[in-house]
Amino acid sequence: MAILILAEHENGRLEAATPSVVSAARLLESDVHVLVMTSEAHGEILAQQAATIEGVTDVKVVTAPYLEAQLTEDLAAQTQAVIARGGYRYVMMSSSYKGKRVMPYLGAQRNTDIVADITKIESEEMFVRPVYAGSLLVAERLKGEIKLLTVRANAFPPAKIQTQAAPIEVLAPTPPALTPPHEIRCVERSGPSSSRPELSRARIVIGCGLGVGENGMPFVRKLADKLDAAIGVSRAVVEEGMASSEFLLGQTGKIIAPELYIAIGISGAVQHLAGIKDSKVIVAVNSDPQAPIFQIADYGIVGDMREVIPALIGLL
């Protein structure tokens, strides 16, 4: 029996999450198939990338012009068609925004519950996932012939990329799932508004709280340039209209696990800590020695960021 993984990609590039989902899948089955659903322009290149992930035994690729929009309904319908070919025990995807909309949709179509955002696999039907923003873990048992899971990618090490490639099979697309007048049109798409590394895959992330302020931002940017770091923000910063919600860290934003997280001017509300507490090393710079962030930081500096950060930049 095999596992089907829905590949995630953007602009013809496979997302870093997919090799991590492959690692998770290999804990369950040795036969790991990756399904690439995309526009005609990107099908071949994405299939080739997926085929070189270590542990992948087969790649299925489906291309159609309307798959460019990556609508939930179409991705679910295509996946259903592949599952119907038989042989699958699990269907997996990362718990990205895309995974969060596609997998439950598919679950309801197949009349099965799913386990979302798993961080640990304990047996072929027992999965652990964080709830209450990581304040608790629940172990859930999922029954059923074909089990649907979404995986928190940064909880599993990415599988390596190798030179050897798995076979690629091209499948015919199913018709569009939605028909006029009830179709969905994707009329505009914007990529990340920053040229820095993406938050969920950056090796180093700098988090900015209200304590940084408009005046402090130039220092933060300089530090980020020096470290090739991504910049995230706390909810307060988004609420003040100082940053777009795409940079929000925490329970209601992005959940990250970089090698190094540097929290600047962030006090550390429960919801924020939930999003960053799986970072390998946490550094906090805050003028308030009582700030809750210091309770989980590996290293803290109590002081004015306008002095500490320039000093740091000078030393790096």
Partner: protein, 249 residues
């Protein structure tokens, strides 16, 4: 045009949840329950559509035990026209909730469902897509802005890399981000008025849906605690520590 807004009762997200010492469940001492903040944003948007004459009625619905009635009362105080309580003592998975909500949406002839993208706490992100799937309606996920002109729906939605603008037509299900709308303040007179309203209830069984589930919570666990580290005197010591102890810079 009737809008359905499903409502979940959750632990106030500013509280830190803890397990009971024997790990049998959550320690609910001193915990405060509130309306799921994502659902509040959905309800506020629905109310604005009705006030702009784009919808005729806003119906809220909550599934579960009797405590949910109190949360539904808050929705009436905010301005919902009607509330419906779907009563069951049975544990429910997101799929069971979606089946119940589908029955309500069909019975009440709603054309738009606005639903919080996740329950704060369970953090599942499941009922919205499941309900869209069961209804067979176009699914507009993670909306940060939403406009409704006649039958036309347009939303700016969050993606993994930024945003996309989706357009569709009613009937539609939209899952909402917190930033979609700031919920209005509930005034004391409105709260008093809502207290006098009778909230109709229906037994889950009476909706004729399958209450079977294929996932169950087996165990609750406390995550490993992160230890408090050390406070360093200056940037130089920090850089030295990061270089020698962690090799991260």
């Amino acid at each position: 045009m009737k809008i359905l807004v499903p409502i979940k009762r959750v632990i106030d997200p500013s509280f830190k949840v803890r397990l009971k010492p024997d790990h049998s469940g959550l320690d609910m001492t001193y915990m405060k329950m509130v309306m799921n903040p994502y659902d509040e944003a959905a309800l506020e948007t629905a109310l604005q559509f009705r006030e702009q004459g784009k919808a005729t009625q806003v119906l809220t619905v909550s599934c579960g035990t009797e405590e949910s009635v109190e949360t539904l009362r808050t929705t009436l105080a905010m301005g919902a026209d009607e509330a419906l309580f779907v009563e069951t003592r049975q544990a429910m998975t997101p799929l069971v909730v979606a089946r119940l909500l589908k029955a309500v949406a069909v019975r009440e002839e709603c054309a738009l469902v606005l639903i919080g993208r996740q329950g704060m706490g369970s953090d599942g992100n499941q009922v919205g897509p499941m309900l869209a799937s069961l209804l067979g309606w176009p699914f507009v996920p993670f909306a940060e802005t939403l406009t409704l002109e006649g039958e036309k729906v347009r939303a700016r939605c969050k993606t993994d890399h930024g945003f996309e603008t989706l357009e569709t037509t009613l009937p539609t299900l939209v899952s909402t981000e917190l930033r979609l709308a700031v919920p209005r303040y509930v005034s004391m007179p409105n709260l008093m008025k809502a207290k006098k309203r009778k909230i109709p209830s229906v037994a889950a069984e009476a909706l004729g849906v399958d209450m079977d589930m294929n996932v169950a919570i087996v165990q609750l666990r406390a995550p490993p605690e992160r230890r408090r580290g050390m406070v360093l005197p200056d940037a130089a010591t920090l850089v030295q520590r990061l270089r020698t102890d962690t090799q991260t810079v």
